[in-house]
Subunit: 401 residues, 2 copies
């Protein structure tokens, strides 16, 4: 072994830590623990039998192509069907505007690879998806957090911050937004706020990265147009994924953007993994094409809707005064705020003693704030376990009050 | 669209070009073209029927886990069976020494992410696998090329170069070696040279990255010990992949290294794609466990052996005086050298007119040398097409002489 291993690691990797969530998940895998910590889809939503049939069909009809290297851009029929779906929704994109990625996480990694030099600023919400922050950090980005209200990132504070940075000659590389059923906050940005954010982005000539893994999982209320569609000028990079609306184990995501930006994604992806698994893409295409996707998505929405309702009623029944939470119209997460001054980290230890787990809200805050907040997942656990878990959590909170 | 898009790209992405090979492959996809350009495995080697059975079995018995998120380190049973196979061969590793990657290309990307700061030197062979060079470049590495003889990278020149760099206070981050059936040169490093390279690496306290995608595809001669095994001190990072010995479309590779290094791979991979597709890993495990892997590998070896022999006899029959080529004991490629002063780029245009394609050797040379060399793939085309292709190539060369 070489003598100075710790010294020769890159500056960026030295700054990276193992994901708090993924490490936490390991700790919370004792079977007796009721875990609201992960972001796992409900296993009962996985279309196992359909996938057996489709895989046989793909291997029978198109096996050689399915097992061979594929184009870096992705399998054309899958890209085309995704393009068609977006256009049906109101977007106006072509094949050249969409590239398949090996999970949406790769989309986040590549966004950073394409735009971030060490020390560059990136704007993110307080809070924001940890995996996004981690990817940006891994290229040496310096994160600038903008506070939320009940409509998501505040456009006025964003404007103020960008003005302040501008006086210092600093132009952030992009604004990172998860507009629908935000992870972790569970908040959906209404159209008015989306338009305000676009206006500020245009004023300061800055890209928006719209991370949209949950958008299709809407239980109620009116679907919001994507920021990409509302902008319609090429200023927005839209990231999508099958992880929450089909299966995560296939690791298929995609990026929709201006052709010049997609071109850079392709270049960056070539040196990263050459191409996304071909067979998985071909199966995903057939799954959509046969109509299974839309049918199964309905089931997922119904399941998660029930699970959310069940969790909310358990919250109302068991949570002590002073604890508040978001009531998301879709997605997988809600966000819980403890009374001011209470520390979710202390609660975490007590919760684990009580065999219930969650994720500290502070890990989603790039400035370390949010000490009294927690992210709660409602998609994974059964309704019975959820109710019991909320009881245990409420008990732990009461003990601390 | 923002006004200064071209300016805001990262320094690293500005330095990256689309892979010459992958772009070339697009140009050479006219059906009439006989292409020796790609690095594609033979489609007739793909075990389609076995994969249908195994996929059904995995989805039946373990469907939920196969479709869910998995551990960043990879599926344990797959890691374990790979560890066992290496140990049977003579290595002495544990589960903690092996992490699954989404293709060996991801292994190369992560190596660079973990070690390379912009401006760091990386040692590579003249020539070396283009995808490796691309991955290192994408993190701003400066490549230092070391010439080959018929045993691969010259240890004496490596020693000289490292001594020279040391006087300048420069210590490269690692030495990149493809010891078996090297891509593109088709050369295998004998044990004596491996030991010399290890000695030099130890003398200058530098890591070795051993990229080993072809090692199992040996037609004749004695299998060489991996550099990892010969070193046995943790100074070597070994990259493996299923792409050439099973199927490339699954995108499964792995990294074997000292535990502290594996730990960094896991951290880096978390922000890159969270985990490699779970189902693909579970299928690969069963494919090995059922004995299909070893049986099918034998068939691949026989097929490629025949294809190589066929190509070599066509070369002997048709190539004009002054053209030389390597005669690899395995793998997918051989390397052809034109008479001094002849330019493979001129030949390429003529070859395409004659409906035959190859890859310019110069793209594998980080210093731009190798103008009169070319990489020839013999695994993909049928024997008949290969013979015809060699005829066409020989004709083009004769026309230029």
């Amino acid at each position: 072994m070489i003598s100075d291993l710790e010294q020769i690691f890159s500056t960026n990797i030295k700054g990276m830590k193992k994901s708090a969530i993924r490490e936490l998940l390991k700790l919370t895998q004792r079977p007796e623990i009721i875990s609201f910590a992960g972001g796992l889809p409900a296993p009962e939503s996985f279309p196992i039998d359909q996938l057996k049939d489709i895989t046989n069909e793909v291997l029978d009809q198109d096996g050689i192509a399915a097992l061979q290297y594929g184009a870096t851009e992705g399998v054309t029929e899958l890209r085309q069907i995704l393009v068609d779906r977006y256009n049906k929704e109101g977007l106006n994109i072509e094949l050249k505007n969409l590239v398949i990625t090996t999970s949406s996480q790769q989309g986040l990694d590549l966004v950073a690879k394409i735009f971030v030099n060490p020390g560059d600023k990136v704007i993110c919400g307080l809070p924001s998806y940890l995996g996004g922050l981690g990817a940006f950090n891994s290229y040496g980005a310096e994160l600038v957090g903008i506070k939320f209200d009940d409509k998501g990132m505040r456009a006025d504070l964003l404007d103020e911050k960008l003005a302040e940075l501008k006086t210092q000659g600093i132009k952030p590389k992009f604004i990172y937004i998860i507009p629908d059923f935000q992870n972790p906050a569970g908040i959906t940005m209404p159209e008015s706020r989306r338009l305000e954010i676009i206006e500020v982005a245009k004023k300061y000539d800055i890209l928006i990265v719209e991370d949209s893994p949950y958008r299709e999982v809407r239980f109620e209320g009116k679907p919001q147009k994507t920021i990409f569609e509302l902008d319609n000028s090429g200023q927005v990079i839209l990231l999508g994924t099958f992880s929450k609306i089909f299966v995560p184990g296939f690791r298929i995501g995609w990026v929709v953007a201006n052709e010049k930006i997609v071109d850079k994604f392709v270049v960056a992806k070539q040196s990263t993994d050459l191409c996304t698994p071909t067979m998985n893409q071909k199966i995903a295409y057939k799954y959509i094409e046969k109509g299974y996707f839309d049918a199964n998505l309905k089931t997922i929405i119904e399941q998660y809707h029930e699970k959310r309702d069940n969790m909310l009623s358990a919250f109302r029944e068991f949570m002590p005064e002073g604890v508040t939470w978001t009531e998301p119209e879709g997605g997988l997460f809600l966000f819980l705020t403890l009374p001011q001054g209470m520390d979710a980290e202390d609660l975490f230890k007590k919760a684990i003693e009580n065999d219930v787990a969650f994720v500290l809200g502070s890990v989603f805050h790039c400035d370390g704030s949010g000490k009294n907040t927690m992210r709660i997942n409602f998609s994974y656990m059964s309704k019975e376990r959820t109710t019991e878990g909320v009881k245990r959590l409420a008990k732990a909170i009461k003990e601390m009050l």
